[in-house]
Symmetry: C2
């Protein structure tokens, strides 16, 4: 908040420009403090603006820019790094109500959408056209396309179908001072100037507000889907088997790993008979015209690696096998609060990363239920705890986890982003020179520092 204005004046200006779109109810202000990370901002924002149009977003940013008021852009609030949490003196700018599909072009394989549309709602609409948008974060039923873009959200299908930056052609962005720019292009190819579309993806509300997105679509592929799982004596055996699958030349659409603790938790949650003690599981799905042949090849690799393989013989049975994996999150929630981590490593070192997790469990006296998108090397170790605040021992263990991932050639975050929770490790991965370059790029887009301050870069 700059000196030349005060909060009541900002609120007055917002109300004058945006009338009933400005929400200062207790419920709205409290909701805007938090996301799904378990972390919340320490105070309440000044107001929540429920933008319904590009001009609402522009009006909000013009007022914020003139008054030096911080702006935290939010979608559905399903983030896992605290990146959209708004606190004292900040405007929470929600684009959740901007949820229209503006255009679908089956011939050009693109759709133009507003940022607030929920991923699953978009895909339900695209299904009618024989199309889909590939990014499929586990949160797809509740997270928005704008949020997926802001975090660079991943999901289960990335090894075969790519990440968010492979699936966005163009973005309409409102800059910090309220100007609207159009980045990218509608054509398959385009190399005019720097790729600011890619720069915006994963920028977590620090460079501008995405108010429109031109998405690159895929056609729904005819052909069956095959689902199977394989149970192993321990998590290392499962990780070795997963690496063997990726090295074998087959390409599963989905390959998910659950360690023993996760698997046992889910069995309890779903009231299934308990798995063998220590057992870990891989769940694999193949799709497309060679789904059956690929599933057979993968079964052979998994058996050779010591797995007990169960191939689903009906779509219903396939759905049941996947439901075990999908129940991980609700099952873990029963255990208390969770810090869901998100390191990503080259696929070949997945077994080594699980060795590191075992070491960290022993060293810090913790149990760390872990699932992995094993097809792409992205792990989600879950640190569970009681109470509101992450205990120091868990931050110590998480810090050790991050450094282990970096040592193995990996990265701090595969798909959740930095937000507030990982900013202290950012420079460890980027190096000081790159960290400073990135901060200067931030300053180009946001010279007065009003866009999501304290996120990503603060340390």
């Amino acid at each position: 908040m700059s000196a030349h204005t005060d909060m009541s004046s900002v609120l007055e200006q917002l109300r004058e420009a945006l009338s009933e779109r400005v929400d200062t109810t207790d419920a709205a202000l409290d909701a805007a403090r938090a996301d799904k990370s378990g972390h919340a901002a320490s105070g309440r924002p000044l107001a929540v603006v429920h933008a319904a149009s590009i001009s609402d977003v522009q009006a909000t940013l013009r007022i914020a820019h003139a008054s030096g008021t911080p702006v935290v852009t939010r979608g559905a609030g399903t983030g896992l790094a605290g990146g959209a949490n708004a606190g004292t003196g900040e405007i929470a700018l929600s684009v959740r109500a901007m949820d229209s599909i503006l255009e679908v072009r089956a011939d050009d394989l693109l759709a133009v959408v507003e940022p607030g549309i929920v991923n699953a709602d978009l895909n339900a609409a695209l299904f009618e056209h024989g199309l889909w948008w590939a990014p499929d974060p586990a949160s797809r039923e509740i997270s928005t396309v704008g949020g997926n873009i802001a975090t660079g959200a991943g999901g289960l299908l990335c090894a075969k179908y790519g990440v968010v930056r492979d699936a966005v052609l163009a973005l309409d962005v409102v800059l910090a001072d309220g100007r609207l720019v159009h980045l990218g292009h509608r054509s398959v190819k385009g190399v005019t100037g720097y790729d600011l579309t890619a720069l915006m993806i994963g920028s977590e509300g620090t460079l501008g507000v995405v108010v429109g997105a031109t998405l690159k679509l895929r056609r729904l592929i005819p052909g069956e889907v095959c689902t199977l799982n394989a149970t192993f004596a321990d998590v290392r055996a499962a990780a070795v088997a997963a690496a063997a699958v990726t090295a074998s030349g087959t390409q599963p659409a989905i390959m998910e790993l659950m360690d023993a603790t996760s698997l046992a938790n889910v069995h309890t949650y779903l009231e299934l008979p308990p798995p063998p003690p220590g057992a870990a599981q891989l769940t694999v799905q193949t799709d497309g015209p060679t789904a059956t042949a690929e599933a057979e090849a993968i079964s052979a690799v998994l058996q050779h690696a010591g797995g007990t393989v169960r191939v689903a013989t009906t779509p219903e049975e396939g759905e049941l096998l996947l439901r075990i994996r999908r129940s991980m999150h609700p099952a873990t929630e029963k255990l208390g609060m969770s810090l869901v981590e998100d390191v990503s490593v080259p696929r070949s070192v997945l077994p080594d990363m699980f060795d590191e997790i075992a070491r960290i469990e022993k060293q810090y006296g913790l149990v760390i239920p872990t699932i992995a998108h094993a097809g792409d090397g992205n792990l989600h170790p879950n640190f569970t705890f009681q109470g509101d605040e992450v205990p120091d021992v868990i931050w110590g263990a998480a810090s050790d986890l991050f450094r282990s991932a970096l040592r193995l050639g990996g990265t701090l975050t595969g798909e959740h982003g930095i937000g507030v929770l990982k900013r202290q490790w950012l420079a460890d991965e980027l190096g000081d020179d790159q960290w400073h370059l990135q901060q200067q790029i931030k300053a180009v887009f946001d010279p007065t520092g009003i866009l999501n301050p304290g996120k990503v870069f603060a340390r």
Copy 2:
């Protein structure tokens, strides 16, 4: 060149640091003035530095930075926009000799390479591992991976297999002052900080010098390849047929269009019987496990659209059909100098873009032989002329062409870049606000303006 030093001192410093890697022979200096665009810098560079290592690149940039000497990075000099042309007072920094493959990982589907390796040489080496790197510019036999990255080079396979930015995981970059930074990651997923890897792709030597690249590879897919062509009464009919194929739900690996003038030129060049007057041609190739079925479906679409279809029955015949398309460039070279243009439009408006070209031919009294990567909407209209300089009438027609592409929702350049030849139209596409943002990003990386000055942004 800044005031505090002079050229002879810079040359002396370069020789002291890099001895025989500094080349001031007439042949080297003249070669560094030009690329394959037909355009050359007006003077000769100060020297050509043949870097053999990262430290050679760093040493060159440290001297350039301290003395304020411009640096123009070059690979094989096959660019088509003048982006790597070095002139008076500039250091031409060649990374062509840095051509090693440092690592190939079939299990992680990645390779780490130096920038000077030729695309086709890399792919020949990867073939031994059952792998390939998808970017396949028509120049692949002569262009380097570093140049492909610097320009965001495309090629024939982009609709099915993606563009360069989909195929690069990480880059090692020497900054303007000689510092080395590592951008990106080795894992499939990674969203730590801003995506500077994508920012560097297509930046045409204006942000830093790529000295290493971690490439995302694909496995060679088992299965046959089917090739066919279809002849149409005129180019509009061929373009309508191409749009019908992309709208039909099939996915050709290659779909190339040749207009009547191109086709007739190539038939003359290859000493084939002349095609019917006015006839245009599509050449299609399908691959992968469903290649045959897709080729049959595409044949039906093309016949329905009025095409006379010829399906290759042997690999040799398929190769012959593709050779007609591949001979376009040498056939055009026989006609004199060429300005090869590169607009890209959404696939559905390909027929409209050909209508615009027909209008421009009539309006300016020109013949504009045009080929198109019809599967992705990227057109290469060729403006042929005699003499060394592009005549004004051709620039007038090209300008009209660019504006037509933008009106149709397209872009100035699909895969060649801006270089010097298109910089005057850059702001027309980006808009002034984005143009200024991009210039400021350039200034973050290159505060003293020594990296390829006058390229991309000058107007």
